[in-house]
Symmetry: C2
Amino acid sequence: MYSGCVSTAERLIESTRELLWERGYVGTSPKAILERAGAGQGSMYHHFTGKPDLALAAIRRTAEELRATAEGVLDGPGTPYERIEAYLLRERDVLRGCPVGRLTMDPDVIADDALRAPLDETLDAIRERLAGIVEEGKEQGQFGPDVDGEAIAATVLATVQGGYVLARASGSPAAFDAGVRGLLSLLRPHDHPTV
Amino acid sequence: MYSGCVSTAERLIESTRELLWERGYVGTSPKAILERAGAGQGSMYHHFTGKPDLALAAIRRTAEELRATAEGVLDGPGTPYERIEAYLLRERDVLRGCPVGRLTMDPDVIADDALRAPLDETLDAIRERLAGIVEEGKEQGQFGPDVDGEAIAATVLATVQGGYVLARASGSPAAFDAGVRGLLSLLRPHDHPTV
DNA sequence: GTCTATAAGTGGATAGAC
DNA sequence: GTCTATCCACTTATAGAC
């Protein structure tokens, strides 16, 4: 049960965030949220219009938080390669999966544009930021002149999201780490033949 | 509603496979399965002990089918690079996601070793097959001597699984295609500096 | 084998007391 | 604002008729 010296609405949102991460949207009931938040039915329907409304608030916050974390690493110090490496190697609770990515497998989230929007915006923003870094690396000669920033950015993000899938299937973070290691070996700067 | 000239048990399994793909395990109710299969409660509990038992049969079949499809492409003709390319470019209904991969986000599947096992076995088999192909490519000089087959295999599989995530978030297959394109550009054979 | 009937519990939401 | 009571449909399963 979520506890802390905060408002009921706040506790409801935080409880929902936890449950959405653990069980997804379909797997999360108002009852479970209320139990964890230590609140009654009335509180929830006073602050929110219903489950979708509360979930929207929770998803928005989770998406913003993930975006801030990712951009914090990507805007850090180092060469373009080093920043992508830092992003790929940053500490993650791999077996929990990505709190944003996992929601894309939720039919009720994907069916609702309002619920899907925060996922799209966050993943897209990270992708754009990665693409810019790759282009930077190209200009500096760290990556070959023939690489496509947008494409590589999608590959990097997909490797992370897919790494979670492989890890959860096997019950071990090893597959995630292997995928990241493989990608880094492919990205690692070496002499580029001038097209 | 699923129809066809087959046994009731068969229709139940096929209906479950469809629903598990569309809505996951938590989002699939016996009632929905029975409606689609055109069967009554009694039929289901006659052939299976309950929802988990029926889901297990469905998941096993889906996992085997995916494995056969993937290995069919990977064991096809062509150089190692071409076979990996064929795997990455094979026709997919991208926005539906991977029928196996999506189940890894289902808490009740991951919590049950019997339900999780088929996912693990299938993804692991594809990974092993990919790793072997990369090693083959190394021997033939198509890939550099420093690449790690196991790691690259995980990267390839993760890019596919993560591509589904990005595509579903954006509501378009474009991100999947971009990720694959980026990966292929990184894998494409070129002159390798001898370590 | 397949059907309907039944049942205890949950899902999601409303009403009204305090 | 928060609580409890109430509601109806759904979930999962069992019982027993045909």
